[in-house]
């Protein structure tokens, strides 16, 4: 009863919703329209919204203009997946410690982690470049993975900690009483229970890694074969002309696999964020 809306209210909600979604989806619509236009049409003035020479030709031509396109799309996903996996390896033990254990400097060290959250790589590029070169990983996949992991560890700890706090402590105490070692308890009791939380944190970290790989890629990697999609797209800007329609087509095609994965995972994401956000 309480949730009943009058007809006018429902119409109002839908109109407002439509405006909200138009704002959020407009750039995608524009990219799609541009990808359908033949190149010479793109530069036709005055602006024409609709014309009859739309085609999907750009979607087949783009693979020839930039032969490595498939590789770039794959690299993007590979880098983000690697960042997610490595980040979780660091994050799981640390967030368990913050969720359950009591130890000296707990709050100070946690604030240090959260402090890292405040930087983006953009402010530290010069010294980071030197670190990468000292480690000998410039122009490799690692040059994009390592900084990605570092800047996502704090977010991961922050999110996962609130999950682990919700797992009933009694199970661990029981295992502990039975003489299980601390590490065994963590591996065999806590981890299996934390799987839903791990999925959510994994998704969040993946989004972060996927969204932000451009800067590290253009700064630390010159090897074309390792470039992720956002950097690879700039190859459509050629010496003679920019094939904008193919660039748009490639951008949309490139993000499609990840969007489809998200379609399936978004339920967990929203549910997980609910749990995380209410906590603090």
């Amino acid at each position: 009863m309480m949730d009943r809306y009058s007809l006018w209210q429902v119409i109002g909600i839908y109109i407002a919703m439509a405006m909200f979604l138009i704002f959020l989806l407009l750039p995608f619509f524009e990219m799609f329209m541009a990808s359908l236009r033949p190149l010479e049409h793109l530069f036709r003035s005055p602006y024409q919204f609709w014309s009859d020479d739309f085609s999907f030709k750009a979607y087949s031509d783009m693979w020839e203009t930039v032969p490595l396109l498939g590789r770039y799309i794959w690299n993007s996903i590979f880098i983000s997946t690697a960042v997610t996996a490595i980040t979780l390896v660091f994050v799981v033990p640390a967030s368990y410690a913050y969720a359950r254990l009591d130890f000296p400097f707990k709050n100070i060290s946690l604030s240090i982690f959260l402090g890292v959250n405040m930087f983006t790589g953009a402010v530290l590029l010069i010294p980071l470049y030197r670190v990468m070169s000292t480690l000998g990983i410039l122009n490799t996949y690692w040059a994009m993975i390592v900084p990605g992991v570092a800047f996502l560890i704090p977010t991961g700890i922050w999110l996962l900690r609130s999950y682990l706090e919700k797992i009933p402590v009694e199970l661990e105490e029981a295992a502990f009483m039975d003489g299980a070692s601390r590490m065994y308890t963590l591996r065999r009791v806590v981890l299996p229970l934390a799987v839903p939380g791990l999925v959510v944190v994994g998704i969040a970290v993946f989004i972060g890694a996927y969204a932000q790989q451009f800067l590290f890629a253009i700064t630390f990697n010159q090897t074309r074969e390792y470039q992720p999609l956002p950097a690879g797209l700039f190859e459509f800007i050629g010496y003679q002309s920019v094939t904008w329609n193919e660039m748009m087509a490639a951008a949309l095609t490139g993000v499609l696999p990840v969007m489809i994965i998200f379609l399936f995972l978004q339920k967990y994401l929203v549910a997980g964020l609910t749990a995380g956000a209410v906590k603090e």
């Binding site: 750039p27 793109l42 405040m118 930087f119 530290l124 570092a150 070692s181 996927y210 209410v278």
Partner: protein
């Protein structure tokens, strides 16, 4: 410190680690990683900021000269106030739109599951790719926005959004809001769904209007999340680099140069690493002040609204 309560239990295996030792074993890998990739570069930046390092290997320490230059530079002061204006504008828009969006998504109407999915894309895709879309939208001759304005006779010839100081600035704000709104919306939605239904029902029985319930129940209940979202957005907006860089590279005539763009340009475009480092340190200090203020506010809010 607190290991006493546990370790007094009679243990079967005497070799079990103490709580603090175990905790530090768990944290050490993450700590070390951050130390090498973030803390050390930060320390290095701090050192560089007292030098006149340029492209070559030779440099000398110049004391606080870089900082003094910044303090006296009118241009830098303009950049700082522009950054704060940019942040204030963008964060308020993100919060207002996010609140509206979350309320809409929370309304019990058919189709809301689909709407929730459609909100995600700007957040999920790489920022650089979203900006290619905006770049085209803002294009005067071939972009949709200018085309629509022309056909509505609001402008009489094509309008280049990114070519004029004022319009470039506001265009960049809109693009930044676009990137940030989905996350704010989802977190606020999540918080709204965590509010107990009993509260609403009690108010509804007493005849409270929907608007009254929103004002007196929803807003206070989700206040801690609003506060944390505003700080997170503030930090993201302050740091946002790719958005401005791809759209305008800080131009035209520095009208979209925020502090982060300024320090990047100084270091990489002009190769004045020392001066760029000094700008970075100023940014770090400001961000530090921010988060202290945030913790203080969050504390007050949590106490005031009495949530856990």
């Amino acid at each position: 410190m607190a290991s006493s309560s546990v370790s007094t239990h009679p243990t079967k295996r005497p070799a079990r680690l103490s709580q603090s030792a175990f905790a530090w074993i768990l944290i050490a890998p993450a700590m070390l990683f951050i130390a090498v990739i973030v803390a050390w570069p930060l320390a290095e930046t701090f050192r560089l900021s007292f030098t006149d390092t340029r492209i070559g290997p030779n440099y000398s320490y110049v004391g606080t000269e870089n900082y003094q230059d910044l303090a006296e530079s009118r241009k830098f002061k303009q950049t700082v106030s522009r950054t704060f204006y940019w942040m204030f504008l963008s964060v308020s828009l993100k919060l207002v739109l996010g609140l509206i969006g979350a309320t809409l998504l929370n309304a019990a109407v058919p189709g809301r599951a689909l709407f929730r999915i459609l909100v995600l894309p700007p957040w999920v895709i790489p920022i650089a790719i979203g900006m290619i879309g905006w770049l085209w939208l803002y294009n005067g001759a071939f972009g949709l926005l200018s085309g629509v304005l022309q056909s509505l006779d609001i402008v009489d010839k094509s309008f280049e959004f990114l070519a004029y100081k004022r319009s470039a600035f506001y265009s960049a704000v809109v693009a930044d809001v676009w990137v940030g709104v989905p996350m704010v919306t989802l977190f606020l939605l999540a918080a709204m769904q965590g509010v107990s239904r009993d509260l609403y029902e009690a108010a509804w029985v007493d005849g409270a209007s929907r608007w009254y319930r929103f004002r007196r129940i929803t807003i206070p209940q989700i206040m801690p999340v609003i506060v944390s979202m505003s700080l997170l957005s503030a930090i993201f907006t302050f740091n946002s680099f790719e958005i401005i860089w791809i759209l305008t590279e800080g131009g035209p005539r520095s009208s979209t140069t925020t502090m982060i763009i300024d320090s990047y340009k100084t270091a990489f475009s002009s190769r004045k690493f020392g001066e760029g480092a000094a700008r970075t340190i100023v940014i770090v200090c400001l961000l530090g002040l921010f988060s202290i203020a945030y913790l203080w506010v969050l504390n007050k809010v949590t106490k005031y609204y009495g949530t856990k």
